[in-house]
């Protein structure tokens, strides 16, 4: 050490300045990379807008209220039925996935023994690892045929709910419907919601839980009073992130939905369509206007998912919880 300390002043000065230059250069490079993230998101928005404009100008009917999609032929097309279908399938998927996902994460964090819990966590995460096209293939050849019984049951006993009504007796055979798509979506977003809420439940202060148990609470009362209240912001964010994923899911839905351009509340009968699935299914045949029209619909999807994600992240950032390791 002393050798270095007594070394010539000139060389140590030079090394100090080259050290500073090296630092400045490296910092600039990383800053550039960081800035590229802004540029990239901006570029996505700009290019989608620019390439959507030609179709929006050519559209002979209102883009927001038209239910048909014929950009290359009669040039009448609109996003009404697609946006409706996207929201309907995603909300139904949420309705099915949220209770199950929360139940699983509660079981894994509050009930299961620690060793088992780790493996159960892996298993639910594996659901997220399966590629969406495999879900689509499985949906077409396994799930839809096996759902017929359930659909008949729902229409028979719950047909008085408009969602499950079946006036023309269409549900008793194999059909691609909103309901089937929602079930596939529910299975796909379940692991996301479960993984995030698991992390959230895990962050609850153990002292709070132990205090509740020490006061004589049953396990469920402990969960209700000590675990759930501080977790709500995180769980809300998890649900919204799952919702965002459902909105944008493409391939699996493209394979199991009915490709019908119509606003229809009846989820069991053949029909339904979503923005993303429409892009995948119509892209191959699309001409110049067709592609531009699909980009316009993609822009709408981008804006909706961006809004949902921004809101979800805002909730979690404000609550100060850390769910980042989960997704």
């Amino acid at each position: 050490m002393s050798v270095v300390a007594t070394g010539s002043d000139a060389s140590s000065l030079r090394s100090a300045s080259s050290k500073r230059r090296g630092d400045a250069t490296f910092k600039a490079i990383t800053l550039l990379a960081g800035a590229l993230v802004f540029v990239l998101l901006g570029a996505i928005a700009v290019f989608l807008v620019v390439k959507a404009i030609p179709a929006l100008q050519a559209d002979k009917s209102s883009f927001w209220t038209t239910q048909i999609w014929d950009p290359d032929g009669s040039v009448h097309f609109g996003i009404a039925a697609l946006a409706f279908g996207t929201l309907l399938t995603s909300f139904l998927a949420l309705a099915m996935a949220v209770p199950v996902a929360l139940g699983v994460s509660l079981y894994v964090t509050q009930y299961a023994p620690r060793r088992v819990a780790t493996y159960l966590g892996y298993a639910t995460d594996m659901l997220a690892a399966v590629p969406s096209v495999v879900y689509g293939l499985w949906g077409v050849f396994f799930l839809l045929p096996h759902l017929i019984g359930t659909q008949v049951f729902l229409s028979k006993y719950f047909g008085w709910i408009p969602l499950f009504a079946d006036k023309n007796n269409l549900v008793s055979s194999y059909s691609k419907s909103v309901f089937g798509a929602s079930v596939v979506l529910a299975i796909m977003i379940l692991p996301i919601i479960a993984a995030i809420s698991r992390e959230i439940f895990r962050q609850v202060d153990p002292a709070q839980r132990e205090a509740a148990l020490a006061l004589g609470a049953t396990r469920w009362e402990m969960i209700r009073t000590a675990v759930l209240p501080p977790s709500w912001p995180g769980v809300t964010s998890a649900i919204m992130l799952g919702f965002g994923r459902a909105l944008g899911e493409t391939i699996a839905v493209a394979l199991v939905i009915g490709n019908v351009y119509k606003i229809d509340w009846h989820t069991l009968i053949p029909g339904g369509h979503t923005i993303a699935a429409n892009i995948a299914n119509r892209f191959g045949e699309a001409g110049a206007t067709g592609r531009s029209a699909l980009i316009a619909s993609g822009l709408v999807l981008f804006v909706i998912t961006l809004a949902v994600n921004l809101a979800a992240r805002y909730v979690i950032y404000r609550s100060g919880a850390d769910e980042r390791s989960a997704v």
């Binding site: 090296g22 990379a33 620019v50 996902a101 690892a129 969960i223 391939i251 961006l306």
Partner: protein, 346 residues
């Protein structure tokens, strides 16, 4: 008050066999119900039996142990049912893919392309699709990994205050961008605005957009885990900050970062939508990712799933099995690597 303590202390206790037999009784009731009425179907049977079993357990408990215990039992058994409900589709997806995939999955399938194979032929394979998928993912990683590491370094080592928060926030938001939007962006930018054709490279760009945020976040987590004492020791020896980062911080976090990259690759390798939009499909082996449409495993499965030919469907299942196997290999190696990672105690 006296009533309260009385119910609190003098609630009956159920013998150990009571709840299992209540559940069993519910299953028996379901069998009867299905035999006598029009109910049918395995899935329906399981669901009805589960609901009745939960109800039977709760009611038994309510009658003997009181309301609070009954609620607790209800919550416990409902959580357990939800767990089973989650694991069931997993088992069915994996099991069905293996079962149907094995029909056509063999060495011949992995080493042949679809060149000259029509929909009515049972021959052909996915060699061309494997080549395409690997190239596209490699291109995506070549872009996303260095860029992602730099962003992670900037956010953890240099940026402070609002800029760091803003970049972190945007990266988080980027993870929520639907894959089809990434595909549409590359379509609008690369194919339509710049006039480039379909290519594996374009697909690589779209996948890079999806891979980038995953890489950034995992690298960020790993860099944060590097002990400050290592950095301080390096600074004390007069080493520049940038050299400390490259020589000390990154090597220490290397295995964790590699794990993150492998998980990111596993995540994007099955992405179908962007590849469908900007790479297209090809029956032939197309080793050049810069020139023309290229095959890929996900699109191969997608096309097969929509085909009316049973042979296409069989090939789609075998290709799906191939894809799942690749993803599984990536996940397992990532796990093995995590276990060896000294930094990550989890």
């Amino acid at each position: 008050m006296s009533a309260l303590t009385a119910t609190g202390l003098r609630t009956g206790a159920l013998p150990r066999w009571a709840l299992p037999s209540a559940a069993l009784g519910a299953v028996g009731l379901t069998v009867l119900l299905f035999a006598l009425t029009g109910f049918q179907g395995t899935v329906d049977f399981i669901i009805v039996a589960a609901i009745l079993a939960v109800a039977a357990v709760s009611i038994t408990s309510w009658a003997v142990e009181g309301r609070r215990r009954a609620k607790d039992r209800l919550a416990t058994s409902a959580a357990l049912c939800f767990l089973v409900l989650t694991l069931t589709p997993l088992a069915f997806v994996i099991g069905y893919t293996i079962k149907l995939g094995l029909d056509r999955f063999n060495l011949n399938f992995l080493t042949h392309s679809m060149a000259g194979v029509g929909p009515l032929s049972s021959n052909g394979g996915v060699y061309h699709a494997i080549v395409g998928t690997l190239e596209q993912v490699l291109i995506a990683s070549a872009m996303a990994v260095p860029l992602g590491l730099l962003v992670a370094i900037y956010v953890t080592e240099y940026a402070s205050g609002i800029l760091a928060t803003a970049i972190r926030f945007l990266i988080d938001v980027m993870t929520g961008i639907p894959s089809i939007v990434a595909g549409l962006f590359v379509l609008a930018f690369w194919v339509l605005a710049l006039g480039q054709g379909f290519s594996g490279f374009a697909g690589g760009m779209a996948l890079a957009i999806l891979e980038l945020p995953i890489v950034v976040r995992s690298a960020e987590e790993m860099i944060k885990l590097v002990p400050a004492s290592l950095r301080e020791a390096s600074y004390a020896l007069g080493v520049a900050k940038w050299k400390t980062i490259l020589r000390i911080v990154l090597p220490t976090a290397a295995s964790g970062i590699t794990t993150g990259i492998m998980l990111a690759v596993a995540r994007v390798i099955g992405e179908t939508a962007p590849v469908l939009l900007v790479v297209g499909n090809n029956d032939f082996i197309q080793p050049n990712p810069l020139k023309g449409a290229q095959a890929s495993l996900p699109v191969f499965v997608f096309q097969g799933a929509g085909s009316s030919s049973q042979f296409d469907v069989q090939r789609a299942w075998a290709a799906a099995l191939t894809l799942v196997l690749i993803v599984a290999i990536l996940y397992v190696s990532a796990r093995v690597l995590t276990r060896r990672n000294a930094l990550d105690g989890r």
